[in-house]
Symmetry: C2
Subunit: 231 residues, 2 copies
């Protein structure tokens, strides 16, 4: 299964592109400008290995060519990006939004958030995209700094939420192509109202401890290796 | 250091009373009715051991007699409880609020939340209490069910936030009296706007997996055994 990464030239998206490509996932890095997408893909292959299946192109072309689209862009530009790809998304695509509505979008600190009208950035994205698109939200606690330590495996869990169980499982399968990572079903898409704020929490913890790589792992019963029972 | 537990007859508060008392912390269980507080303390000693320093009394007396007050009550009754103890809180007390504004308070599911006017239940509590009180917020990801498995150590971290570094450290020291638990400084009190929602997230994850004991642990760098650098 291939994946388009919209915002793949940014820190989070680029880090995921390298790690997924290195794991053998076909990755297409999207950028506003085709040439920038190509250049980022070259840079990603330089890290992941020359035969890593990472290509680069425009956001529009990347979106049109993929069944799975991962969007990793800052909140300030998120709505504009979704409007720009709306007419290119395949009708039954799985779109995973990784945006956090950090208050940096309005000139306030990154450990604060704003509240989008729809409740979360992911629900805002869903409101912009065609109704058939299967929306997932996730990756909010995956530190960009940790992603870029390419010689280290990642730590922690990737919490995903969304209304379509198959779409969550598809993104979860991508997550688990990356060594050491596990995905967790956090419930319906509205749970993005909680998950997105975790980025601000990670930043606040990093600030308290002078670290850069805070993340979270779920603990609980031995039941954790079971698949989700409900969507 | 002793601690009053307001709402200590409820599941979360009673579980903490047993575990803290068993660790040798002087605990005073508060209840609206003195006799109910006493009965809960007897029940707690039956579990923790007859010589565990656990007493019970009214909320008012428990509050007046303690430098540290832990409040574990449902959101629907939280404001009323704080109004009732306001005149009894010591001027420089440390008050740790563990409330989550779950939507159950208004007849909606426990994996949804409402937003208190002040932004969080802890900030609502602070607005009710005298201004000198040092407010901390925490314990939102400590499962009541896990607490009540008294023969098992707890798993995960206890995230605390608040504006007073000493107050956070005091609650953190209580946390670490319980075997296997670690506390994490999550930043200023306003971070309760994120922490409190984690209870809804834990409930949503439990719902997805048919579990009852989801919790979280922070991951990150080796730096995790350092004390916080900032308040």
């Amino acid at each position: 299964m291939g994946v388009a990464i919209i915002g793949g030239t940014g820190e989070e998206g680029f880090g995921l592109a390298v790690r997924l490509g290195r794991a053998g996932v076909e990755v297409v890095i999207g950028s506003r400008v085709h040439e920038k997408g190509e250049a980022a893909a070259q840079k990603a292959r330089d890290i992941a290995g020359a035969d890593a299946p990472i290509r680069g192109t425009s956001n529009d072309a990347a979106t049109a060519g993929s069944d799975v689209v991962l969007v990793t862009v800052p909140f300030a530009g998120q709505a504009e990006i979704y409007r720009s790809i709306r007419d290119h998304v395949r009708p039954d695509a799985v779109v995973c939004d990784a945006t956090s509505p950090l208050a940096t979008a309005v000139g306030r600190p990154a450990w604060q958030v704003v509240t989008p009208w729809e409740g979360s950035a992911a629900e805002q994205a869903k409101a912009i995209l065609p109704s058939g698109v299967r929306m997932v939200s996730g990756f909010h606690t995956v530190s960009a700094e940790a992603l870029h330590e390419f010689d280290q495996p990642l730590e922690g869990d990737v919490l995903l939420c969304g209304g379509d169980a198959g779409a969550k499982a598809a993104i979860g399968a991508l997550v688990e192509r990356m060594p050491n990572l596990r995905w967790v079903d956090a419930g319906p898409l509205s749970m993005a109202r909680v998950l997105e704020r975790l980025t601000a929490l990670m930043i606040s913890v990093n600030r308290a401890y002078g670290t850069r790589e805070a993340g979270i792992r779920m603990v609980g019963r031995d039941a954790w290796n079971r698949p989700p029972e409900k969507a």
